[in-house]
Structure formats: structure tokens, C-alpha cells
Amino acid sequence: MTMLGMTSRRRSTERLGQVFTWMCAGALALNLLLAVGLLILIGMHGLAYFWQASVTEIELKDGTRLIGEVHGIEAVPTADAAWEGEQRMRLKIGNRDLYGLDFRWLRESEIETVTTPDEVVLLERLEWGNFYGRMVELRQAGSPVAAGSEAVLAALPDLHQRQMALRESIESLEHGEMGEVNYELEKLRLEERAVRMRGDDARASADLARMERTQAQLDERYRELAAELTAMRDRLHDVVLVMRDAGGQTKEIAVGEIVRVVQPNSMGTLASVRLYLGRIVEFVSGAPRESNTEGGIFPAIFGTVMMVFLMSFAVVPFGVLAALYLREYAKDGPMVRAVRIAVNNLAGVPSIVFGVFGLGFFVYLIGGTIDQLFYAEALPTPTFGTGGILWASLTLALLTVPVVIVAAEEGLAAVPRVVREGSLALGATKFETIWRVVLPAASPGILTGMILAMARAAGEVAPLMIVGMVKLAPSLPVDGYFPYVHLERKFMHLGFHIYDVGFQSPNVEASQPLVFATALLLVGVVIGMNFVAIVVRNRVRRSYATSAV
């Protein structure tokens, strides 16, 4: 055979062996195909999400006109014998506020003409999704500023920018001063409850009187701000863009509600690329819109990263201690075997079981106790006694500790014996040897473990669904109010985002491309981290392979 170079007469068993070898090779080939194919699939779909395709105008044989983006062409399902052999087209028609549906199927035979007119615009809006149509008029305070497609397009950018600035100041007022007043009011309410729970005495009534005064001040401030906000919102709806859809229906859209104006068919390559990059930036740094099916995923990225870092604070020391025990302290025996079995089980027990444990132990038992002791005034609204980022991190720390142990052990094992013996021979104690010599040398291994654990945690969803994730977190776990980091808060997570938007959103079809983009980001981060870990590990191996000689 090839490998041994022997040939001549082939016995049938040998032939069979050859076939089996091929089968093994085939199995491996299939594995590779699956792995690579999957990555290509996610990559293509994920990256295509940001690309602006041209917008087509279609006239049907019955006279209906439609504007939209073509999302795939396929054969009409064969079950429908009347249209045997025909192709059909899936058109994203947008304009959800007018049509109610995002997509429409068109059969080949229905279509009269397909054109790509230059003047057609696509409006990305804060609400109701995309609008496809032609620009008619721009109005300010009821009187027209510009009419006709080109004039509007020329006048729009300035007004748009102004309105966007206005919107931003509204938002900063809402989240800034208004948020502060709300926060103070809530704090006051809790304080008041705490005072009442303490029982009534002279001091309590003085406190309550003081609080009443503060409350009155705050209420006054709230009313002022609310009035200001209302005035600003009115101004926001003052500038209106009048659009006409393909069928001739007109629609007034407040310019402040528009995120972006694109003329896809008359865009040059450079503009396309800039749009593409701009969308990526928006996706990564923006807030979600339309119940997560549009806009960015910044809160989910932030939540994931913060949870993963919190987790590594817990998991790394624990994992390293266990690895030190296994490698440096324990003698081979039943104890070590028991620890190894425990490690393997921690790695092998389903993640959902960790979630159940986290819910019962961290959330209800520990969190509930903390609430009883320190947050009694807020009850029955739980503070720590409900899912939150801290409990999620601790649950995941338990889940990922085997990853750290295995990698740290490998790192420790790679430290040559002579280094330890040298240190001991110089009179250092075992602890000093480990602390000053072995651990620094093993740190790349520990780092590998930490990265792998973070990658694992970033992709894990099932336990987090139980102990702290939400579809849409009202606020990030970090903000400007004392104590700045709010470990009890619920958070958003990339993985859960995929599940939630992909399966629970009202418009699964329309949001699928966004889910692909999120999946691409998640897969990219996770694979990237794994890749870094592999590189670090290989580098360490190589450096010891030479130094150990």
C-alpha cells in the first residue's frame, strides 16, 4: 500500500482496509466541509446584512406598482400545480405603516416591468421600519420649504441634521436631568418606606417632613422638565417630509423620525462603501429599535462583555487554585482522582442545570436573603432576589471553571522541573517558589484558560435565560448614579439576543438578517478568542520545548 510501499497481489482484506481508510478520510472531509461551510454561511449572511442592494420598482400586470428590495428568487413550490415550473420573487416592500406586511411574494408571470429608478429613496426610520418611495415635499411648520425630488434632497440634509440634534437633546434631557429627577424620586420613596418601617418617633416625623419638602421640589422640577420636553417634541414633529409610495399614496414622515436617507440606485461605489461601514458602526454602537429587530446591539455587547469580565474575576482565582492543588500540592491518590472526576463533571453537567442551580441558590436563596437584610424597604420588589448580572456571572463562573483548570494545569505542567528545583534549592519555600517562579511562568497558560472560559461564557445562553437576561434592559448595568456599577441589574446578552429576535420577535422573517449579523459578531468574537488562546498556548509550548532541553 501507499504508506508502506508494498504492492503486488492485493488480497481482498487489504482492499477492504483501503475502502475503510477512505471512509475515514471521507468522514473527516465531511467534518471539515460542515465546519467551513457553516462559517461561510454565517459570514456571508451576516456581512450581507449591511450591504444596500438596489431598489427596484415593479409594475404588475394588474397595474399595481411596488417598490422594494429583492430578497431571493426561487421556484414556486411544486405542491401548487398551477404554477409548475415558475419562479417567484420575494420582495421586501417595507412601509409597514401603510401595508402591514414587510414582504410580498411575486410570481414571474404576474410581473410586467422591472426598473431601478434613480430617484427612489429608502428612509431608515426609528419606527415602522424602512420606507421606500419618492420624495414629494419638505414642510416646515405647515408651509412647504422645497418641492420635487431634487429640491427636497438638496434641502433635506441641513434640516435633518438640525432635527437629529434636537432629538439628541431630547434624549439627553430624558436620560439626563429627567432621569435624575426620577432617580431621586424613587430614592426618596424607598427612604420614606424605610423610615416608616423603622417606626414612628420624633426623628421619623422630622425626616418625613423634610422628605415631603424635597418631594415637592422634585415634583415641581419634574413638571418643568416635562413641559420643556413636550415643547421640544412638538418642534421635532414640525418638520415633515412628504413621501409618495409606489402606488401614489402620500405619507407625511417627521424628519426627526428618520435615521438615514439613502438613494440606493444613484449611489456610487464610494458612497455604498461608506453606507456599509456606517451601518456596521451603527450596528455595533447603536441602541436597538422596534423591539430589537432594527438598529444596533450595543447594550447586548456591553452586557456580554461586562458579564464575562465579572465572571473571570471569580473563575480565574478559583480555577488556578484547583489547578495548583492538582499539579503542585496533591499526591496521586484517591483524592486527586476524586477532584478530577469532579472537574470532569462540572464540565459535563448540562448548562441548564447550572442555570437551575443559579436560580435556586444565587437568586432565591442568597439574593433573597440580601434583600431581606439590606433592601427591605423595596420589598416586595426584589433587588438582588431576582436575576441579575452578578448572579449570571457567578453561575457561569461555576460552569467555566473546568476550562480554566485544564488550561492552567497544562501551563503548570509545562514549567520545567529544573526551574522549581532551582528555586527550592536556593531556599525559597514552596509557596514562594509557586508565587514568584511557577505562576509567572505558567501565566500564559492561565491566560489561555481565562480566554477560553470567556469565550465559552460569551456563547452560553441557556443558564442565563434563567438567571438574569432580559429581552430589553431599560438601563445598562453601569451608569452615573452611585454606586455606578449595578450588579443587581438585568442585562442584555448577544446569545440571548439571537434567540429572542430570531424566535420571539413579532416579525421573524424581517429580522432574520439582523440575527445573522449578530450571530456573525458572536461567532467572530468566540472563534477569535479561541484562536488567540490557541496561539498563546502554542507559543508557550514552543518556548518551553526549547528551554527545557
Binding site: M1, T2, M3, T13, E14, G17, Q18, V19, T21, W22, A25, G26, A27, L28, A29, L30, N31, L32, L34, L321, Y325, A330, A338, V339, R340, I341, N344, N345, L346, G348, V349, P350, I352, F357, G360, Y364, S423, G427, A428, T429, K430, F431, E432, I434, V437, A441, G459, V461, A462, F496, I498, Y499, G502, F503, Q512, A519, V523, I527, N530, S547
Partner: protein, 746 residues
């Protein structure tokens, strides 16, 4: 490595300590503390896995406990009460007393808080009292043949956090017939809007049904009362009557164990015999929901009967459950307003608390009163009030999880409205009288089904691929290929689930025939391309590292796959007559769901492949070189060496790889959650969905109130998962440890 790390920096004592035996105390102490901390870290790992186990067991444990019953209050009364009611917080008891009064007494002090004379016992005697199971009224039958219904209104108020219960005994409304007398048995019900329905036996041997409705005019505030009466025949020796919550069916039992049913809406229809019980019926009650009858017998037997679907139109009841009998005749039965529980009291004043669905005897004990005349369960189902000849006793029942037993969790249970005992998981329903169905069996089967189909894909691909990489591939190539396959393990399962559920499932549905074609085509393509590869000139082949044919195969397989997809329609038309799904339904008789076990098998197989691959690759490549070299030196070829030496030696490692893969598939949550329809059905067909234990936890636990039955049942599901994976992983690790020891010896 840092250069300064090897010399203790800046510590003059360190140099002095070289060669010296003594180490300064502070350093020695630090050393000892470090040793303790590190050991604690090691033990901490064991502790955490044990903590998980112990905690989950502790959460599951109360599920199997029975009811705890203690005496809550006991009052002496004279004359004895014939019927009684308690409020939801068990602070007031209202009773029909022998002197024709209705009295409300505080259970704390025993003092009478309200009373009303309903029957003047000097004119006619009190024959019997009746308590409304919903706690809205008491009824009294007197010797002159009229029935008085006395509404009872409870008011709960809060004053400075203190709960106060007040009771108001309302004006009685009277029921009588002009030319006939009402006699025992009788039954009455009211609705929330104040209409009353009353059915009673008459002295002339009929059943009379009264319906009184009150309509309040929204504008004028006037109330209009209307009464309708209807009559139907009654069987001889009628003994007990019960009426369901909707006042649609009236059930009665007569001598000889016969049970009759009358349609009561809109008016009384003639009776139908619906059941023949073996023995004399001494007590009768309806369970919550009004479909199931509990029958108490002279012999002490307790039975539950309800109509089954097969018996159309409630025409006959079937004997569904028998409970362990009491020693003496059952005298009183009452059912809970919260669940399917009921209480039985026998002639010897022994009380039993039972639950229908789970067929459990929750508690048995003495009544605490003599000669029980009436029994009622408190509205929250957490108390039993009984009246005896001299006293009233109230028992407090702590009964958190009556609705499940180990048996009902795993064995088929005959639920109300089903035609046979079945395994059903249905934890919540739309109505208050819903009977929760907690059978873990369909979920276990779903778990095994998902695991089976994914291992069907993962085992061959993972093990064979690992064998090839470790045995037939050049190390240079191996160092690239191995991490690539193992990187598959890093893919988050939520991404796999998303792809499987939203991308793969609809496509597989379209090209299922192509998938079948691939199963046949792939081996053929491999053999063909292998033979072609072999025919290439040796010169060309030698230029590439050993094992490159796998890469060539990847290309040919990809082409073959594309070919199969292209042939899909033609193949489907030729073999399945146009549509695989139609063919499957009409010829095989199976339903094709879009999100089915095959889709899950593919996605979860994908997740399991890298695990099986990595562990088996380890096992293969750790087979000592000496064995392989020896075999080759003796003239065996590569394949003979692999099949006769490497494979048997590494087989424990393969076994442990499969075990770990199995464990992963059993517990995988997101993929099955997203790629199946999550319907808890019990079926092995690869073409429909299922629900696994893990997905079930993820779906249901957010809705499960803490410490409720569902919560604990879900913890039990988690415990099962834990136990299965613990066993598998421990076994795998033990096998691996032995294998390692054996390799070390070789």
C-alpha cells in the same frame, strides 16, 4: 521567563537561608497558609459539584412528602352543628346549629360574632343542614318541607397591616312547593351574580329543580327576581345529590350503588343511569371542575369515577381510581376548591386526605371530634373543619405538593376527560379547575430521541475522522486539521440552534430527497474518488503530505452534495411521486414537521462531533508508539495495524468519548429549544419534533412560582439530567484514568 523570578529579590534573609534548615516564621506561616488555601481550592471543586447536587435534591425533596396536619382550633358547641363553613384564613366558622340558628363563631375565642334564627324549632324541626362548597351560603331543611338558603358574605379588610375578617349572615330565601314537601337529599349552588339553583327530593318521589335568578337593572338599580321550577322522576331510595359548578348536571346515588345523572339546564331532564358501583354508596361528592365523582362506600372503599371520551356525551361514567379503603363505612366526603384533593370521614371518625390525579393518600388520622356530622375544606384547601356531637375542630393542612407522586411523574395517569391513562406534560391551562399534568416520560423520550439522532450522525463522523487524523495523516497537516475540527466546539449552541431552526429546517424540508440521495451517494463518491486518487502517479501523490486525500475528498463530496441538490426534484419526482412529504403522509402514514428530529440530529450532531473527535483522537494518538511500530515491523500493513492493534487498545477511550458526547447531547438546551417545535409528544418518528427535559426547563421555569409544584418538578428534571450526565462523565473519566494507567504500563 522573567530573569528575576528565580532569585528572591531584595530579601537579605533569603541568601542566608540557602542551605540553612530553618526558615523565618513569617515565611513558613505564609507557606502553610498557602498550602491550606490551595487545598481548599481543590476541595472546593468537589464541594461545588456536591453543593449543586445537594441543593437540587433539597429542592426536589418536599415533592415527595405527604401532608402535615395539626389541630388548629377546637370549640365546644351545643347544640351540635349540622353543617359548617370556614373563611379562607380560618378565623371564623359559621354553622347550622341544631336549634335552627345559623351562628358565626370566632375560632380564636370561641365567642359568637353573629347569629340569626332561621327555623323556629318549636314549630318545625331542623332536618338537615348543607354547606355550599364555594362558601357562599348555608342551607337548612326543616320538617315542614321547606328549605332556607342563608347567604354568607365574608369581608376582608386591612387595618395597619392587620387582616380583619368580618362575616355577614344574610337574609334567608325560602324554597317550598305548594302541594308537596321537600325532603332529603337536597343540594343547592349559587353563582357570583346571585342566582341560586336548588334541587331536592320531594315527598312524592320526584326531583324538584328551582332556578332563581336576580337581574339588576344597570340604570334603575332595581332587581328583578324570577323563579323557574322543573320536575323529573327520581329513582327509588335516592340517597345523595350533587350539582356541578356550572349547574348543568345533577348527580344522584340510589340504593344498590346506582348513580344517576339529570341534565339540569335549562330545566330538569329525566334521569339517566350513568354508573353501577359495586357496593352501597354512603357518600358522594364532585371534584373541582365538576366532572369527576368521588364515591364513598359502606365497605369503606373510595372510588373516583368520571366520563371518558369514548363514552360520548357524559352518558356513562367509568371507574378510574380506587383508593385504599377505610376500615369502616365512609360517612362524609368533601372536595377541595383549589385542586383535585378531597377529604373522607368514616363511621369511626377517621379522616383521610386524598388526591385524585396522583392517587395519593396524603394523610390519615383521627377527626378530633366524636360522631362527625359535617366536614368542609377551607377555601384555600389548607384546612379541614369538622363538627361532632359536642365540638367543632379545625385541622390545619400543610400540603404543598399533593398533585404529583413518583408514580404519576413517570407512569401513565388517567386524567379527567381522557379515554385512557396517558403520559402527558401540560403544566398550565386556561381555567382555574385545570388539572396539571406532570409526566416526565414524554420529555425523557424526547431527550433520548434527540440524543439518538444526533449520536447517529456524530459517532461515525467523529470517531472515523479522529482515526484518520491520528493514524493516516502527516503531523504537519494534522496540526492544521485538528484545531479546525475542534474549533467547531467553540461555536455557541445558540447560533447552531438559530441556523437549524430558521435556516436549515425550511431548506431540509425542500430538499429532503437530496438528503436521502446523499446518504447513498457519499460512500460511492468516496470509493470512486479514492480509486481515482490511487491511480494518480506516485510522483504527484508524494509531493503532498500523507493524508491529503481527505482534502481532495472534501472537494469531491462538496461537488457530490451540490449534484444531489441539483437532482433533488428529479429524484423526488421519480421515487416519491413529486413530493416527499405527501408520499410520507400517504404511503408511510407519518406527518412531516418542519422542525423535526433530523434537523436537531444534524445540528446537535454538529455540536457533539468535536467532543467525540477530540477525546477519541487523544485516545488514538496516545496508543504507545512501540505497539504500532511492532505491528508494522511484523509485516502488518497500516490498516491491519489500525484495526487490530490501535482500535482495540484505544477502544476504552472511544467508549469514554461516546459517553461524554452522549452527556453533551442529553443536556443540550438551545439547539433543541430552537430547532424543534417543543411539543411534548411521545413518538420515535424522525419526522416530527419533541421536547427535551432541558428545553422544558428553559421554557417553563420563568413561569414557575418559587417552591410551587412546577418549580420542584423542573428541579427534578434538572436532577435527572444531573444524575445521567454525572454517571456518564464519571464512568468516562474512570475509564480514561484506567486507560492512562494502562498506557503508562505498556
Amino acid at each position: 521567563m522573567r530573569g528575576d523570578a528565580t532569585t528572591p529579590e531584595g530579601d537579605p534573609g533569603a541568601l542566608a537561608a540557602v542551605g540553612a534548615v530553618s526558615i523565618p516564621d513569617r515565611r513558613a506561616l505564609a507557606d502553610r497558609i498557602a498550602a491550606i488555601v490551595v487545598r481548599a481550592g481543590g476541595v472546593g471543586i468537589i464541594a461545588s459539584i456536591l453543593a449543586i447536587l445537594v441543593f437540587i435534591v433539597a429542592e426536589v425533596w418536599p415533592l415527595l412528602g405527604g401532608a402535615r396536619v395539626v389541630v388548629d382550633a377546637k370549640l365546644s358547641v351545643d347544640p351540635p352543628a349540622q353543617a359548617l363553613l370556614v373563611d379562607p384564613y380560618r378565623s371564623i366558622v359559621v354553622s347550622v346549629d341544631g336549634d335552627g340558628h345559623v351562628r358565626a363563631r370566632s375560632l380564636e375565642s370561641g365567642s359568637v360574632v353573629d347569629e340569626r334564627k332561621v327555623i323556629d324549632v318549636s314549630m318545625s324541626s331542623l332536618v338537615a343542614g348543607l354547606a355550599d362548597p364555594e362558601g357562599r351560603f348555608l342551607a337548612l331543611l326543616d320538617g315542614s318541607g321547606s328549605i332556607a338558603v342563608v347567604p354568607i358574605a365574608w369581608q376582608v379588610s386591612f387595618d395597619q397591616g392587620q387582616r380583619k375578617i368580618a362575616v355577614e349572615i344574610g337574609d334567608p330565601s325560602s324554597y317550598q312547593l305548594p302541594e308537596d314537601r321537600l325532603v332529603m337529599p337536597f343540594v343547592a349552588r349559587t353563582t357570583e351574580d346571585g342566582s341560586e339553583v336548588l334541587a331536592a327530593h320531594t315527598a312524592t318521589g320526584q326531583i324538584a329543580l328551582f332556578r332563581r335568578s336576580r337581574e339588576v337593572n344597570d340604570f334603575t338599580g332595581e332587581t328583578k327576581e324570577s323563579e323557574s321550577r322543573s320536575f323529573a322522576a327520581a329513582p327509588a331510595n335516592l340517597q345523595h345529590l350533587v350539582l356541578d359548578d356550572e349547574q348543568e348536571s345533577l348527580f344522584g346515588s340510589a340504593a344498590g350503588g346506582r348513580i344517576y345523572r339529570w341534565d339540569a339546564r335549562p330545566s330538569l331532564a329525566p334521569p339517566i343511569e350513568v354508573a353501577q358501583v359495586d357496593g352501597d354508596i354512603t357518600a358522594l361528592t364532585l371534584l373541582l371542575g365538576g366532572r369527576a365523582l368521588v364515591v364513598g362506600l359502606e365497605s369503606g372503599g373510595l372510588q373516583v369515577w368520571f366520563p371518558t371520551v369514548a363514552a360520548e356525551g357524559h352518558e356513562s361514567l367509568s371507574l378510574i381510581r380506587k383508593f385504599p379503603p377505610h376500615a369502616s363505612a365512609i360517612r362524609h366526603l368533601t372536595s377541595s376548591r383549589r385542586d383535585k384533593g378531597f377529604v373522607a370521614v368514616d363511621a369511626a371518625d377517621n379522616v383521610g386526605l386524598y388526591y385524585s390525579t396522583s392517587e395519593r393518600v396524603l394523610w390519615r388520622g383521627p377527626a378530633q371530634v366524636e360522631a362527625v356530622r359535617a366536614v368542609v375544606m377551607s377555601p384555600k384547601g389548607d384546612g379541614i373543619a369538622m363538627s361532632g356531637s359536642q365540638s367543632i375542630s379545625v385541622l390545619e393542612v400543610d400540603n404543598p405538593h399533593p398533585d404529583v407522586s413518583l408514580w404519576s411523574l413517570f407512569a401513565p395517569v388517567w386524567y379527567e376527560g381522557y379515554s385512557q391513562p396517558e403520559y402527558v406534560w401540560q403544566s398550565t391551562g386556561g381555567t382555574d379547575d385545570f388539572e396539571p399534568k406532570y409526566s416526565l416520560t414524554p420529555l425523557l423520550i424526547g431527550t433520548l430521541k434527540g440524543t439518538f439522532y444526533s449520536l447517529l450522525i456524530a459517532i461515525p463522523l467523529g470517531v472515523l475522522g479522529a482515526m484518520y487524523v491520528s493514524q493516516f495523516m502527516h503531523p504537519r497537516l494534522r496540526n492544521v486539521i485538528k484545531p479546525t475540527v475542534e474549533l467547531m466546539a467553540a461555536l455557541p449552541s445558540v447560533v447552531l440552534g438559530f441556523l437549524a431552526g430558521l435556516w436549515l429546517a425550511p431548506r431540509i424540508e425542500e430538499v429532503f430527497s437530496a438528503l436521502l440521495l446523499m446518504i447513498v451517494a457519499f460512500p460511492v463518491v468516496i470509493i470512486v474518488s479514492g480509486s481515482l486518487w490511487e491511480r494518480l502517479p506516485v510522483r504527484w501523490r508524494n509531493r503532498m503530505p500523507v493524508g491529503s486525500e481527505a482534502l481532495v475528498f472534501a472537494v469531491t463530496l462538496a461537488l457530490a452534495g451540490a449534484g444531489c441538490l441539483a437532482l433533488n426534484d428529479a429524484f423526488e419526482a421519480a421515487v416519491f411521486g413529486g413530493s416527499f412529504q405527501t408520499w410520507l403522509r400517504s404511503v408511510v402514514g407519518l406527518q412531516y414537521d418542519q422542525r423535526n428530529a433530523i434537523v436537531v440530529g444534524l445540528a446537535m450532531g454538529f455540536a457533539v462531533i468535536p467532543i467525540i473527535f477530540a477525546i477519541s483522537e487523544d485516545a488514538f494518538s496516545n496508543v504507545p508508539r512501540t505497539l504500532v511500530s511492532g505491528s508494522l515491523a511484523l509485516g502488518a500493513n497500516r490498516w491491519q495495524t489500525v484495526s487490530r492493534i490501535v482500535l482495540p487498545t484505544a477502544s476504552p477511550g472511544i467508549f469514554s468519548a461516546i459517553m461524554v458526547g452522549f452527556g453533551r447531547a442529553v443536556g443540550e438546551t438551545m439547539i433543541v429549544l430552537m430547532a424543534t417545535g417543543n411539543t411534548p409528544i411521545r413518538d420515535w418518528s424522525p419526522f416530527n419534533g419533541f421536547r427535551t427535559l432541558s428545553a422544558n426547563i428553559a421554557v417553563e421555569i420563568p413561569e414557575a412560582p418559587q417552591f410551587g409544584t412546577l418549580y420542584r418538578v423542573l428541579f427534578l428534571a434538572a436532577l435527572l439530567l444531573f444524575a445521567v450526565t454525572f454517571a456518564l462523565n464519571t464512568l468516562a473519566e474512570l475509564v480514561r484514568q484506567r486507560l492512562r494507567a494502562r498506557y503508562a504500563r505498556l
